[in-house]
């Protein structure tokens, strides 16, 4: 039986540009679920996610991903990562971007087709990334992260700026991937995305305010929305 915990973070501290971006955070991300990391911009979400994929210099704490330390070479085929700003080549087409990253991963053209379809960019395959809208570019970036069906996905604000229909479709995709056994850690600064997550990590000023299910959180705080729950938790802790 595969370990049901995909990512374990224990007492993580990250200093970024002289600021305590992550200040003693402990949590785990289970397989088969979508874990939402919510908080305002600048609360440390990106530093936390970069730490999980092994791209961030951390000050202290341990991060275990699929039983290995974060950033271990054996994880480079297993972790899909979407950076906050779409990291794709503007001077290549959608298809060329996907083909390039597929070659780096040792994958074939069928996998490119599957991932282009998964983010609904089939009509734009031949377009240069620079000619796409912001939302379309971030979907190209997401498609790259889906290449090869990684069992751990770390997605930094993948749905920012997308229209509501597309946003719903992508969340459906995330849940399908989770249903297949993947672990997803998805960040957002939009509180209304919280109800789409199986579990929530609420973050503010480098610390976790809560680690609960959306329903559990509403029940515990007596709030009617996640936004209200966030506010009441801020008041309690300060």
């Amino acid at each position: 039986m595969m370990n049901s915990v995909a990512v374990e973070v224990d007492d993580l501290h990250v200093l970024r540009f002289g600021v305590r971006a992550v200040d003693g955070v402990t949590f785990s991300v289970p397989r088969g679920q979508v874990t939402g990391l919510l908080g305002p911009s600048g609360c440390g979400k990106t530093s936390l996610m970069r730490s999980v994929v092994g791209a961030q210099i951390v000050r202290s704490g341990t991060i275990t991903v699929a039983g290995l330390p974060a950033g271990d070479p054996a994880l480079r085929h297993r972790v899909g990562y979407v950076t906050q700003a779409p990291s794709v080549y503007d001077d290549l087409t959608v298809e060329e971007n996907l083909r390039f990253f597929a070659r780096v991963l040792g994958l074939d053209g069928a996998e490119v087709d599957r991932c282009v379809a998964a983010v609904d960019l089939g009509d734009h395959r031949g377009r240069l990334a620079s000619r796409l809208s912001g939302g379309q570019r971030s979907r190209v970036s997401l498609a790259v992260a889906l290449l090869g069906n990684p069992d751990i996905l770390v997605l930094d604000e993948p749905t920012v700026g997308l229209d509501p229909v597309l946003r719903r479709d992508l969340w459906d995709l995330f849940h399908r991937l989770a249903g297949d056994g993947a672990a997803l850690l998805v960040s957002s600064h939009v509180m209304d995305e919280a109800e789409r997550c199986d579990r929530l990590l609420l973050m503010r000023e480098g610390r976790l305010l809560a680690d609960d299910t959306p329903d559990g959180l509403l029940e515990r705080t007596g709030a009617r929305s996640i936004e209200q729950a966030f506010l009441s938790l801020v008041e309690v802790t300060s």
Partner: protein
């Protein structure tokens, strides 16, 4: 669920597949950027034609200045192109993404060196053929050797450009490294005044700069013949060896600036 990501290049330092993928991607980018591609191929020839025209009525000026310029132009162009493209990779997040994937640092560097080496070969071949066949440049040694030296210079330019991109935060800063790193080398390489005639301190400094060796190699190929290997004086091979050593050193330092983990 099926995890189809294959585990082909786990801990190996270099993967031919990934190096090839990166070189192929650079070519694809150039294919879309017609203006850059055209300038890379045509501008050196335009400059050399201008030089030839300047000296039309002035005797052997073109024969003595042409070969050094054949060394300088690919060096300058590749320095600029590489420093800006690598800086873009660093700032757009694509480098971070590649390094989270199974890309080795040597794959990244090798891919760029390969792609720009090929571009430099085509660029130099066009310029050399133009100089020799159309503009009547007198070359005592083998003509193909001029292209070999030019490619070595271009790869050196790429390696230095890659290295300085680590010290620039913006494209403005990256371009400013051109006058800092390149122009002193042009002044001291023997193009304006023979190196032996410079003040001793400057001559000693010019002995430490890679472009001096590149220009020496070009001049030797164009003015001498030899029965030694390759039809060139053995000093050409030792000059090329120095250029190659500087290239390897710059690539090694450049590799040290590619960090999987950053602040």
């Amino acid at each position: 669920m099926s995890h189809v990501r294959p585990h082909t290049s786990g801990g190996r330092a270099m993967s031919l597949r990934i190096t090839g993928a990166i070189a192929g991607r650079v070519f694809a980018q150039l294919r879309h950027d017609h203006r850059t591609a055209a300038m890379l191929l045509v501008v050196p020839s335009v400059i050399l034609t201008l030089l030839w025209w300047m000296f039309e009525d002035q005797g052997p000026g073109f024969d003595s200045l042409g070969p050094p310029l054949l060394a300088l132009i690919p060096f300058i162009v590749m320095f600029l192109v590489t420093s800006v493209t690598t800086l873009r990779e660093r700032s757009s997040g694509t480098l971070e993404r590649l390094l989270v994937m199974p890309t080795g640092k040597l794959d990244f560097l090798g891919g760029y060196a390969l792609a720009f080496g090929v571009v430099a070969a085509v660029q130099s071949a066009i310029a050399v053929l133009l100089c020799v066949w159309v503009l009547g440049l007198e070359v005592a040694g083998p003509v193909w050797m001029l292209t070999v030296v030019a490619v070595a210079d271009a790869v050196l330019g790429s390696a230095l450009g890659l290295l300085v991109s680590a010290f620039a935060r913006t494209e403005f800063q990256a371009v400013q490294f051109m006058p800092l790193i390149v122009i002193p080398q042009i002044l001291l390489c023997g193009l304006f005044i023979e190196r032996e005639l410079m003040p001793p301190v400057l001559e000693a400094i010019s002995d430490l700069l890679p472009l001096s060796y590149a220009v020496d190699a070009m001049s030797t190929v164009s003015t001498t013949t030899s029965d030694a290997f390759g039809g060139v004086d053995t000093s050409v091979w030792s000059d090329l060896g120095v250029v190659a050593a500087f290239t390897v050193a710059a690539l090694a330092l450049g590799a040290a600036t590619l960090r999987r983990r950053t602040a």
